[in-house]
């Protein structure tokens, strides 16, 4: 199932929480949803589900969500770990949610086992830890085996094993032809999990592209070259209009050139090389760089430095 969000917009007074946001979720793809705090991620998900009223529309295989015969077979949403009545047993909570799609009790038990809540299924979740609450929320989203999963920060509160399980599970789920749309602040996890990224800041779209392309746009991608005569190589590169910064005892961080080009310049200038390596920015670095200035509630310390971080100062 393909999900098309078109022109989503939500305002609170004069302020636009989400502004003309359009993107597409494809089947078989895990799409990461990134944005600083207060950037409008949760509002966007609520708009997609029709929970909040705003402008624009979201089409699920070309139809409004409410037009589908069974909504929970179309989309399973997990928006907040604490969306349950603390006095209703976990199993009863899921059986209640199962009513929309006429999901059997056997499937409820299956999902309980899948998320590892068998031992507490007949307990009231008021004493559940955040991790257990996340699992209950995830179980609710998975009940009717929906074609699309919408998960808002599902990894919050999970232990490392559970995060690993969640990552593998979502990749397999998408691999079965379903669309997965997941927001998270855990960049390292997102880097391992997401095939595609939708990135927003202050409610506006920053990027909607493959994760690799997004990371590749970062200026923190560079080439590390270690040379016997660093200063000579720096001069040779500068003569070709290529910027470089000192990195370590004998290294240069070269920005804006491929390894082939750096190697060729070194060869032509008879500089002996000791190492020539491509260094790719992490998703976190790319995210921080590309959303700098887009943070709604900043601490004042999160802005990345404008120059590559590996420099020990310019070589000359």
């Amino acid at each position: 199932m393909t999900v098309e969000a078109r022109g989503l917009r939500k305002t609170y007074g004069q302020k636009a929480a989400v502004n003309d946001l359009s993107f597409t979720l494809e089947p078989g793809v895990v799409t990461g949803f990134l944005g600083p705090n207060g950037s409008g991620k949760s509002t966007t998900m609520r708009l997609m589900l029709g929970l909040d009223h705003g402008e624009g529309q979201t089409l699920w295989d070309g139809q409004e969500l409410a037009a589908h015969k069974s909504v929970t077979r179309v989309v399973g949403a997990h928006l907040d770990a604490r969306f349950f009545n603390p006095n209703r047993k976990a199993r009863s909570h899921l059986r209640m949610l199962a009513a929309e799609a006429k999901v059997s009790n056997a499937r409820v038990d299956e999902v309980i086992a899948m998320v590892g809540l068998e031992t507490v299924a007949d307990k009231r979740p008021k004493s559940f830890s955040l991790g257990m609450a996340q699992r209950l929320g995830l179980a609710g989203a998975l009940l009717a085996q929906p074609k699309v999963l919408l998960l808002d920060e599902p990894a919050n509160g999970l232990d490392p094993q559970s995060i690993h399980w969640l990552r593998d599970f979502l990749r397999v789920y998408a691999g079965n032809g379903n669309a997965v749309f997941v927001s998270s602040h855990l960049m390292s996890e997102m880097q391992l999990m997401a095939d595609r990224l939708v990135v927003i800041a202050k409610g506006e779209l920053i990027a909607d592209e493959d994760a690799a392309t997004f990371v590749g746009r970062s200026t923190r991608n560079d080439v590390l070259v270690r040379a016997a005569n660093r200063d000579a190589l720096h001069s040779a590169l500068a003569a070709e209009g290529i910027e470089s910064f000192s990195d370590g005892e004998d290294g240069l961080s070269v920005v804006g050139a491929e390894t082939d080009r750096v190697g060729e310049i070194a060869f032509r200038n008879q500089v002996q090389l000791r190492e020539l390596t491509v260094r790719t920015a992490s998703l976190e670095e790319a995210f921080l760089e590309l959303t700098s200035g887009g943070q709604e509630y900043a601490t004042g310390q999160s802005q990345p430095p404008p120059q590559p971080p590996t420099t020990g100062g310019a070589a000359s």
Partner: protein, 262 residues
Amino acid sequence: MMRNLTYEWRRISSIRSTWILTGVTIVAAAALAELIAVVAAYAVSHPTGPAGPDGGPVEVATKLSLGEFVTTAMTNPLSIAIVFVILSTIVAQAFGQEYRHGTIRLTLTAFPRRVPVFVAKAIVCLAVVVVTFVITVLLTIVIGLLNSGAVGGDAPSVDFFGPAGRMILYLIGYCLIVFAVTVITRVLALGVIIPLLFLIVVEAVLVNLVSRFVHWLPEVMPFTSALAFVNGTDMVRNGLVFLAWIVVLVGIALAVFRARDA
């Protein structure tokens, strides 16, 4: 719609408070009925009251008919207050708990069409309330039959189906007002307290004070009209006044529910 109703039934039946509240209602109503029977039996067994100035009897009590007993047990102010407050709390939970715990978002994700959600909640809650109330009426009848010292004998029969039926309509109307106020305020406690305050305080104050200057005021007060309807006074007019209040409040609640972000 069946899925909405199933969802609502599973929601309301899977929390203990629903069963605690229905149980308390039944026990409290039965206890009040028994109390009335005991008092009536005492009055019957002590036919001579305190001596008057001439030393003669001033009061002679006779047994109540079953109809009188049931009507008295159901329509006395204490019974109304207790039964209405407890049962209306079940109704207020339909939306109050959903907003409090955020589960309204789960509900509206599964059922994006809001009108059926609203209607299903009303139907299921009112069904539970009516069934509970019918059980209390049946229990009151049994208590009346068991207390032969107070009820029965040669007492003339009095129809209680009419008052009981009107009482059920009053209860349904009251619960719908609670339902509407809870939707509008999104707070369970306010949904229960605001109608109750109008029922026992605000309306009485308005009727007693303001009606001296605004003579028609008592005729348009919802609960004054509803009580008059239950007692069989000008039933059509009083019934319509009460119905108008219900329609207006439920209409506002539905409009608010549809327009509001979840």
